[in-house]
């Protein structure tokens, strides 16, 4: 879009320049023509003037000749004939001049010829008169006639001369008129042309001006962009470099120098200077990778180390891509980032992982010890008690037997606690496999495990058809078992337990419990019972480890079962919620992601 505009603008300016040049040429042509016209007119005026002058000359020569002739007639002194002969010569030269001046005008030439004839006639007449004078025939009739003829000829000559002058003046007037009409249009034309030129120049100027403003705005943007690139390089800890491969010239961005621990542009950007910073062990590998970069034109990331002058080692990662300038020069454009922090945090993370693994090992060792070594003395105590009861019951008082019974209860409870704790710690293991499992099967297995207590309490368990879900099967089975055994455990003494399991599939946004849910849809499984329930205010406590709401003499829970359930749904990125009313029943709702 922008480049199109620039192109249009250039085209426009070229057109304006061509038009301007054309107009100047036209003006030049017109000016030349008008000036040459003017010169011509001036010449014509001058020639008219000269014609007039020459004619006046001729007139005066004739007058001189005539007066000289008269004086000769009166005095018969031939010396008076001198101006007469001179006149003849002068008239001839004037005539030549006139002929030259009027060479373009046929009418004038004709007139001149008539004039010439008349003059010739006059001079012939003069000669005849002279002859009469010589012969002293002045008073003769023929002399008189001669003089009269002379007068007529002279009159005709004057008439002819004035005719020529008139014609010449007439011509002059005509030309003057013509010239003046030309002259009248010339300034108007010049003015118009000037106006148009001015207009074009103004348009061109404004166009250039707006283009300049646009370029300036673009320049400003570029400056901002450059500055933001600089800033982002500093914040993002990366720098860029260009390698002009054909001329082997490098340019490094300011921050590239900073990555190397140097002031911006503090040394000459070239390959050798750069290699001085590369970790000695990485030089060969990096050189090979750079060769590949040049050949392949594009290369995935290369990581290498550099050693700054102060001895700090940094990890850098580079990526480069070849690109060609408009004139076909090949360049590698590279981005190099400082990944020292990432590498270091990765190393720290690895260290932590090792520690964690170690801790886990310790934990599983503890689990083993708890399951095996802690159970063993308890089991033996139980066995010995059973032996005492069996073999020695006759030798022990009834109080003693009662004490033995209490010891047995305490030990049993201790074993239960250890078992539950073990189970809880096992649900912590992260490496369990998710398998798509039919939850109906898992519920069935859990129910089977509880078959004894179910038949004992005459419990009724009904369930909706559950879905197949990707779960850790034994954990979900454990959860079902814990929830069912919870309901059976905390049932009312006088009422047979009824446990109802419901299922719906829901969207996260449709359920207030799932405000913080990650997945969009969930399996909602609800366990409802008619047991003793609990007060809603304890709802937050029931999932805590070892937290119990009921008397342990009456109800045998360890306070671990629901904690295990919570742990299990956490492992499945699910949720578990409880609600209850005392003496009415409890509802446990489980959400498992689809």
């Amino acid at each position: 879009m922008d480049s199109k505009n620039v192109f249009k603008s250039v085209l426009f300016l070229r057109i304006v320049l061509l038009m301007g040049l054309f107009i100047i040429l036209v003006i030049g042509g017109f000016t030349y023509k008008h000036i040459s016209d003017l010169t011509k007119s001036t010449k014509i005026v001058i020639s008219t003037y000269e014609v007039n002058v020459e004619l006046e000359h001729i007139n005066s020569y004739l007058s001189n000749a005539e007066s000289g002739h008269r004086k000769y007639i009166l005095t018969k002194d031939t010396s008076y004939l001198e101006p007469y002969f001179d006149a003849r010569k002068n008239i001839n030269s004037s005539f030549l001049q006139l002929k030259k001046l009027t060479i373009v005008n046929a009418k004038q030439q004709e007139n001149l010829a008539v004039l010439n004839n008349l003059i010739d006639k006059l001079f012939t007449n003069f000669s005849k008169t002279d002859a009469l004078v010589k012969n002293d025939e002045i008073s003769t009739e023929s002399f008189k006639t001669q003089l009269f003829e002379e007068k007529i000829i002279l009159d005709s000559i004057r008439k002819q001369v004035s005719e020529i002058i008139d014609l010449e003046n007439k011509l002059l007037n005509e030309r003057q008129k013509e010239y003046q009409s030309d002259l009248k249009f010339t300034p108007l034309f010049f003015y118009l042309v000037l106006l148009v030129t001015l207009l074009i120049i103004i348009i061109a100027f404004s166009k250039i001006n707006t283009d300049l403003l646009k370029i300036k705005a673009k320049n400003d943007q570029l400056l901002i962009f450059k500055e933001s690139t600089n800033q982002s390089e500093i914040i993002g800890k990366h720098g860029n470099w260009v390698w002009h491969i054909d001329s082997n010239i490098f340019t490094y961005s300011d921050n590239f120098f900073r990555l190397l621990g140097e002031e911006p542009q503090s040394f000459e950007a070239n390959f050798d200077n750069f290699l001085k910073f590369v970790h000695p062990e990485d030089v060969d590998r990096l050189a090979k990778e750079l060769d590949k970069m040049i050949k392949n034109e594009e290369l995935p990331f290369v990581s290498y180390r550099i050693v700054q002058k102060n001895g700090t080692t940094k990890y850098l990662k580079a990526y480069a891509k070849a690109f060609y300038s408009a004139d076909g020069q090949k360049r590698l454009l590279g981005i190099t980032s400082d990944i020292t922090d990432e590498i270091e945090s990765f190393l720290v993370l690895e260290q932590r992982n090792l520690e964690l693994e170690h801790n886990n090992e310790e934990l599983s060792e503890f689990t083993y010890v708890a399951s095996h070594d802690l159970q063993e003395p308890l089991r033996k105590i139980q066995t010995f008690i059973s032996r005492l009861e069996e073999k020695e019951s006759k030798n022990i008082s009834s109080t003693g037997l009662q004490y033995l019974e209490r010891i047995n209860v305490a030990v049993t409870r201790m074993r239960l606690l250890i078992d539950d704790l073990l189970q809880f710690s096992r649900t912590n293991k992260p490496d369990k496999e998710f398998v798509v499992t039919d939850l109906n099967d898992l519920l069935e297995f859990a129910t089977q495990d509880l078959a004894e207590i179910i038949s004992e309490k005459k419990a009724i368990i009904t369930s909706a058809i559950l879905p197949k879900v990707s779960v850790i099967p034994f954990q979900i089975q454990q959860m079902f078992l814990n929830l069912l055994s919870n309901s059976l455990k905390y049932s009312k003494n006088d009422t047979a337990p009824i446990i109802n399991i419901e299922y719906t599939k829901i969207k996260a946004k449709e359920d207030i419990h799932l405000n913080n849910a990650v997945k969009s849809s969930y399996h909602k499984i609800t366990f409802l019972d008619n047991g003793i329930g609990f007060e809603q205010k304890y709802v937050d406590q029931i999932f805590e480890l070892f937290s119990r709401l009921h008397d342990k003499e009456e109800y045998s829970g360890t306070g671990v079962g629901l904690s295990i359930c919570k742990k299990i749904v956490d492992n499945h990125q699910g949720f578990i919620f409880a609600e209850s009313e005392l003496h009415v029943g409890a509802i446990f709702t489980i959400y498992l992601p689809e």
């Binding site: 399951s371 095996h372 089991r379 139980q382 066995t383 059973s386 032996r387 074993r415």
Partner: protein, 148 residues
């Protein structure tokens, strides 16, 4: 001779457990001969002796010093002379891991040591009266752990 009594061996490092074991069989009305060893090394020394009598059923505790029950199991199964002995794992814990491992290694049954003498007698009498031929043929992971 073997038809007259069942020859049983127990390898267990726990003195009390050995006592319960022998007491239980002395109280049970089954014709048995019980021999006990304190650890895996003692057991294997006995079994490896040329003239030792091979037991009908061998009860193996898993957690023993010097040589564990698992190590004994591996050695026994690798030895053709002993590989026919019915092996009962007799352990305090019944972790999934142990059950899985011993099953794969070829043990015949897994007993978790019970917490009363009555139960102990019951489980031991059940084990020795098993028709091993039949049990071994239908052995699978579900009936490997003996439940009472």
């Amino acid at each position: 001779m073997q038809n007259e009594y069942i020859y049983l061996i127990l390898a267990d490092d726990d003195k009390d457990d050995r006592l319960f074991f022998t007491d239980a069989f002395s109280e049970l009305k089954i014709n048995t001969k019980v021999n006990t060893f304190n650890d895996g090394v003692e057991l294997m020394n006995y079994l490896n002796k040329e003239d030792s009598l091979m037991p009908n059923v061998l009860f193996l505790d898993l957690n023993m010093p010097k040589k564990t029950g698992i190590e004994c199991l591996i050695e026994i199964k690798a030895n053709t002379k002993m590989s026919g002995i019915a092996i009962v794992i007799y352990s305090t814990s019944a972790s999934e891991e142990d059950i899985e491992k011993t099953f794969v290694l070829g043990a015949n049954i897994y007993i978790k040591k019970p917490d009363s003498f009555k139960k102990l007698k019951k489980v031991l009498s059940e084990v020795v009266s098993i028709n091993w031929q039949y049990h071994t043929n239908s052995l699978n992971k579900d009936n490997f752990l003996l439940r009472l």
